[in-house]
């Protein structure tokens, strides 16, 4: 056990230490990347699921498989406000007119999540049964919605003041939805992490906007 052996051991310990530190750092980064990617995937799935639902519902606004039941489709929107809308629709294609309402609740309803901005998006379906009775179902869409904003335009493209006093004046709509993850990674909800040009944090926020949505049935006949 000469001095060269001791030097070998010291050198190998140092190199091992470096390797270990690198490995730990790599592990951290891999973890972070994995969490970011998973969060992103969850956000994307939530967003595509939510937008598919919204598109499904809004495309059928004013539709009834028995057209005689909805003689004036321009009256299909019953209430229209900044963050809520109620309209007539034949959701189950049973020739009876149903009603559908979307609205968002307050942030306090989602106090169990770390995110202080997320809300519940409600979807209330009132199905008219064959015997004339109405079955009401209210779904809580807890998908990290932080913004659900409706904007309404008149026939000349002018913005209508919300709540819209005469919903039959609505010609087109704009729907904006923003969702965020329920919890941040490494406490990155602060404004410093937000892209100043887009206002969106790519890792934890996702934005969808349908501009000038014109439900086809509104202007039938």
């Amino acid at each position: 056990m000469g001095s060269s052996t001791i030097l070998d051991i010291i050198t190998s310990v140092v190199i091992s230490g470096f390797l270990l530190l690198s490995a730990l750092r790599l592990n951290d980064q891999a973890n972070e990347t994995s969490i970011l990617y998973n969060t992103n995937l969850t956000l994307q799935e939530n967003m595509t699921g939510l937008t598919s639902l919204l598109e499904h519902d809004f495309r059928r606004l004013g539709y009834c498989s028995d057209y005689t039941k909805i003689p004036d489709p321009s009256q299909a929107i019953r209430e229209a406000d900044t963050s809520s809308i109620r309209f007539m629709i034949d959701l189950d294609k049973d020739k009876d007119i149903d009603s559908l309402m979307y609205w968002v609740g307050p942030t306090s309803e989602m106090s169990s999540t770390v995110n202080p901005r997320d809300r519940v998006l409600y979807r209330r379906v009132c199905i008219t049964n064959a015997d004339g009775t109405v079955t009401k179902t209210t779904e809580r869409l807890e998908m990290g919605v932080t913004q659900f904003r409706m904007k309404y335009f008149g026939v000349l493209g002018d913005t209508l003041t919300s709540p819209v006093a005469q919903p039959n004046a609505i010609n087109t709509m704009e729907i904006s939805v923003q969702i965020e993850s329920f919890a941040p990674f490494d406490v990155r909800y602060d404004a410093a992490q937000v892209d100043t040009t887009t206002g969106v944090h790519a890792d934890f926020q996702m934005y969808w906007r349908q501009i000038r949505l014109a439900a086809r049935n509104l202007r039938n006949r």
């Binding site: 891999a30 595509t48 006949r221």
Partner: protein
Amino acid sequence: MGRASMIMVMSYSTVLMMMGYNISKVSTQAYENYIGYYDRTNAHNIVASAANMAAYQLYDSAQWRAGFTDKPIFGGTATATITQQLNADSTLKLHIVASYKTYTDTVIVILRPSSFSKFSYYSNIEGNIWWTTGDTVWGPIHTQDYLGVANSPVFMGKATAKLGLEKYNKSATPQFLGGPFEGGVDIALPSNLNQLTAAAAAGGRFINRTDSAEVRITFNGDSAVVRYGPNPPDTTVYLPTWAPNGAIVVRGGNLRVKGNVNQSLTLGAIRAPGQNEWNNTGKVRFDDNFTYTVDPVLYPDSNTTTIVGVVAQDSLVITDNSANDPDIKIHAALFSLEKGLGAEHYNNNNERGKIELLGGITQNKRAAVGTFSGGSITSGYSKRYRYDERLRSIKPPFFPSTGSYEVLSWYER
């Protein structure tokens, strides 16, 4: 030492490769999720575009039934089929299926021949008429002329005009609450009433008068008393067998009607070949109230589908008689091909109350029903016209068609 290091490095590399694989897999899933949404949206855009193209073809040519198969659009394909549906409205079903990569989407559009009966007000010639504050029109309105507006009239239904909107002055602010006002919309009156006449001859009741005489029909629910000429005999008929398809046309004379009806009918009067307006034929005269047996406004729960049309090649006339003084009620979609709805002797200084119309009016030109001074009626009738909302979805049998199709429902999957 060397072997242990190798094992350690290889193990570590394996762990890192697995982590990398998982990260890559998640990343790919996110990407695929986005691509899937993009492809679905594309498939939907293709089917919506194809549906618009097919609807336009039908609008352009009402006889178009060919459809198209695997038409390439935006990198996908679309197939459109058109089927005639066997129902009272003679609706067409436009079925469009589009494919984009592995995704398919569907749009189903139901269309029907557009009828003049849907209008609450239609005119070919408006003349010097201005819709102004206090005028509220319910239901669709169209004119082949300018739609003249002063101050702030309200149009609750769709408003269209061939020649556009004419404002009395710059301060005119018409309210279009049934959708955007559309100018340049051409919905011309038909050149004749052959379709109704043919239907009356085929499965209804066609009364051919060679003597220019009048035919008087007094309706009473599902039956009627018919008098050919001014004098008896009278014949009582059961409407479902006398005019099974609901079309009743008098040619070469005038038709005089009154009473109440519980059968869907279209009554018509046309001139015989060779006759012109100087022959004084092709008119329908209202000798008394002409109403539904069950008033759909007073009894909305009855859900009555009885709907009546009254069609005249010449004019629609409210007879000057004691039965129509004061007031007359008319429940029908009215149509005058060459003239309009007027009152006989409207300016004889005799005030006769009001015309209570439940239905709609389609006329070549507005005709006079009374005279006014300072906002008060001085002779003839004042007007109480109410749109029958049922005319949006049902129409009297064989009522004149606009010659094009209209969309009844548009279903997107």
